[in-house]
Assembly symmetry: C2
Homo-oligomer: 120 residues x 2
Amino acid sequence: MDRIPILRMGEFLLVTIQVDMHDQLAMTLQDDLAERISATSAKAVLIDISALDMVDSFIGRMIGTISGLSRIMDAETVVVGMQPAVAITLVELGLELPGVSTALNVERGMQLLRARVAAQ
Amino acid sequence: MDRIPILRMGEFLLVTIQVDMHDQLAMTLQDDLAERISATSAKAVLIDISALDMVDSFIGRMIGTISGLSRIMDAETVVVGMQPAVAITLVELGLELPGVSTALNVERGMQLLRARVAAQ
């Protein structure tokens, strides 16, 4: 497992995080995402974290970094499927992910994004 | 990592396989899929295997089982993102996945499925 797949869904990119992230994997994901946003002119990145039962500050910071990266490339970031315990941990860690939208699941995340794109 | 997330995308379910499958994980995935197809009346299951560099007969059989399971629940199975080396291995293993459609990536897989649903 040396990279996390990035799936294109129309104007959006979908990343499903299932495995423990380590430095190299996170760096590769950020590089790959920057390249894919540029290549596809994606409007948004959906990060599905429903498989994660717990997060640490490393994952929290990685989501923050991806969000910042997307923003300067004119794409939004939506984190979907966050489990309640994960939300509590992120807040306790002081990682409140400013500028990152959240949605209950991928489908609702896509509805949210489509509504925003339509409103533009 | 005790289960692989199943994402709902409209009428379709998306499963991204990123990690090495072992018996328990494969059984859980099959049970979860059967339950989700029934609960959501999904028309199709997309299995993204773009993260897999290699497959063994265990994974090949698992895809075959998921396909059979979907079929009796009136859903199609589309395997997307298969790398050339993986295709060669599957054929060499004699696992030609009858009844399973394939597509280059998730987006083309969804186009294929939408066209089929529209033609019904």
